[in-house]
């Protein structure tokens, strides 16, 4: 694959261009949090005390009544959310056309951050050499790996036979500083106008750059989000995640793309106009969801973001429950941190209405929705165990399963995915989503309490072939 070549090894100093965020006073922050939650609680207690004497119901009936009202509201929001997403996703698919833009082949730098990816990095770079695009280079950033990633990556440096021409592969070897810092180092080193940021364990489909760069002919587009698919299928949790990526994430992304406001450019594949990243102040290390944070910053600067379903990145999904919880815990806390970081935009729609809208939907998806789902399930368990309404839970499950089944069928058909995944929709909401929502709720509570967390590293099995 690689000819005998001389490799130049040089020492470089990489400025870390992360936007400087003023550190908040911790004591002040918690005091404010206690004051806000205390005030809300007092208002609620005051309303209850004021309303209770005026009702003709006793306390038990009041609780039952309130629960039923809450449940009806939950059902209404659930259906509204589903149909709104389905409608927008449908409009997006109708609008989506593949029209190649002749003569537009900008130079693209692919940044591959790697931390302890010795088992997957070679396969990942191999997939990048097979891209159906000529004008690109690969920059691997070894973020202080403790395994043999450095040796593997070093052996990959040079000019390689690509699909259309020879592709330059470079390596930056830096001390460990996190994914955001690694990506920033790669972006700083790049001379390209467009950068593709991905994960070290991801593999790209051959046409992923070609189909995505054409959107940059529109000067308003600052970034293009790709389509993430699960590579290691065949196990219960990975198959459920494969369905979740199609039904939960991609459908929502399609809907957001119709209004050009994709809220999260996924870590495994995202193309950015370099000046959009520079304007946004690069990736930040102050949240655990650096992709969500950067996306919000790019949107806040007035750029539009599009979703390209044919720009596919295959990624390794966690196979064990513990690994899955670790990933979701980080995602949830990262998203909450990003929302909090941009709260000014959330409460002031005059700055950027698109960002305000996106932030509220993120807030709803990350905080309100999981709490509502758990509360609804608890209600049916209690209704069955203490009031004998066992059949309620069946109809609840049947309704949701039917909704998921129809959505899964639609999404599988649109993405031309494996049909067998549709079957998982029967246990998707009552089993998989419930576990995820419990994790989300716990993470939210921990974030609220300010419990310290670390990035953690998911174990990779090194799936060879896409």
């Amino acid at each position: 694959m690689r000819k005998e070549q001389q490799i130049l090894k040089s020492k470089i100093t990489i400025p870390l261009p992360e936007s400087s965020v003023e550190k908040e006073n911790e004591e002040k922050k918690y005091l404010r949090r206690i004051l806000v939650s205390g005030t809300i609680s007092l208002i609620l207690i005051a309303i209850i005390l004021y309303v209770t004497p005026k009702t003709i119901l006793n306390t038990t009936s009041l609780i039952e009544y309130a629960t039923i009202v809450a449940l009806v509201i939950f059902l209404f929001i659930l259906l509204l959310r589903y149909f709104a997403i389905l409608l927008l996703a449908y409009l997006y698919i109708n609008e989506y056309t593949y029209k190649p833009v002749n003569g537009f082949y900008p130079f693209v730098s692919i940044i591959v951050p790697a931390y302890n990816e010795e088992s997957v990095i070679a396969e990942s770079v191999k997939s990048l050499l097979n891209l159906d695009y000529s004008n690109y280079e690969i920059i691997i950033v070894n973020d202080g790996s403790t395994d043999k990633t450095n040796e593997v990556a070093e052996s990959l440096v040079g000019y390689h036979e690509g699909r259309n021409n020879e592709i330059k592969v470079s390596l930056i070897n830096k001390p460990n500083g996190g994914k955001a810092q690694a990506l920033n180092a790669g972006i700083k080193q790049s001379k390209a106008e467009i950068v593709l940021c991905m994960d070290g364990d991801s593999q790209l489909s051959p046409e992923s750059i070609k189909v995505a760069v054409r959107h940059f002919t529109n000067p308003e587009i600052g970034a293009v989000a790709g389509n993430v698919k699960v590579m290691n299928r065949g196990k219960l949790f990975t198959d459920l995640q494969a369905l979740e990526y199609i039904e939960g994430l991609n459908m929502a992304r399609s809907a957001q793309s119709f209004i050009r406001l994709v809220n999260i450019i996924p870590g495994p594949i995202g193309l950015f106009r370099k000046k959009a990243i520079e304007g946004a102040g690069y990736y930040s290390s102050d949240t655990f969801a650096e992709d969500a944070d950067l996306t919000l910053k790019v949107l806040a600067n007035g750029w539009k973001i599009y979703y390209e379903p044919n720009s596919i990145s295959y990624t390794e999904a966690p196979e064990k429950l513990q690994q899955l919880l670790k990933q979701r815990y980080r995602w949830t806390r990262g998203i909450i941190q990003s929302i909090r970081k941009h709260k000014k935009l959330m409460f002031n729609p005059t700055i950027n209405f698109g960002d305000t809208f996106i932030l509220w939907t993120m807030f709803y998806e990350a905080l309100i929705w999981p709490a509502m789902n758990i509360a609804a399930n608890l209600f049916f368990i209690l209704a069955a165990m203490f009031f004998g309404f066992t059949e309620f839970i069946f109809f609840w499950w049947a309704g949701l399963a039917l909704l998921d089944l129809v959505t899964a069928l639609y999404c599988v058909a649109v993405e031309k995915e494996e049909f067998r995944l549709v079957g998982y929709s029967l246990i998707y909401r009552m089993f998989f989503i419930l576990i995820i929502d419990v994790s989300k709720l716990m993470s939210t509570i921990e974030e609220f309490l300010g419990i310290r967390m670390t990035w953690g590293k998911l174990e990779r099995v090194g799936t060879k072939k896409v």
Binding site: P15, K99, N135, I167
Partner: protein, 159 residues
């Protein structure tokens, strides 16, 4: 026994089990994580790194492309591969053959548009454009041609 009560019981048990599983797994995860808790280091302003690059600089890196490059022809052939892609022509690629002057000796028919273009001939789209401009056309065994072009071949003509 009816089916719905059985299914309801199964779902009830499954939901309760899922709750227990989710909470249990979460507690287990937190217990394991707390053992390996690290202190987050503050971010420095710059970092020393090593850069490994291949020595020979080739023309792989193109110049930063303009925001939008106009297509050379706008004759309705939008769905085809670009014939004279501006950015590609600057890049020395494996797929780009060496320029060769057209010699009339070779009689082999070009396979596709791209080959035809590479061999120095006038692109069919260009030809079409020229034909549109000329007022009179002559019908030959090769179809409609410009009379000027036909004369320039130097062949004897029947009068």
């Amino acid at each position: 026994m009816e089916l719905i009560p059985i299914l309801s019981t199964i779902i009830l048990v499954a939901t309760i089990s899922t709750f227990i599983l989710a909470i249990g797994a979460y507690i287990l995860y937190k217990t394991r994580e707390s053992k390996g808790q690290q202190v987050i280091a503050s971010q420095p302003k710059s970092v020393e790194a090593e850069l490994y690059t291949p020595v020979i600089e080739r023309k792989v890196q193109g110049k930063p492309a303009p925001d939008y490059v106009q297509t050379p022809f706008s004759t309705g052939y939008k769905s085809r591969e670009p014939i004279f892609a501006q950015e590609r022509s600057q890049v020395q690629t494996k797929a780009t053959p060496q320029f060769q002057r057209y010699s009339g000796e070779k009689k082999t028919e070009p396979v596709n548009l791209r080959e035809k273009t590479y061999k120095g001939q006038v692109a069919p789209i260009e030809k079409e454009k020229k034909l549109k401009d000329s007022k009179f056309l002559k019908y030959t065994s090769e179809g409609y041609v410009d009379p000027k072009t036909d004369k320039s071949t130097g062949a004897l003509k029947w009068r």
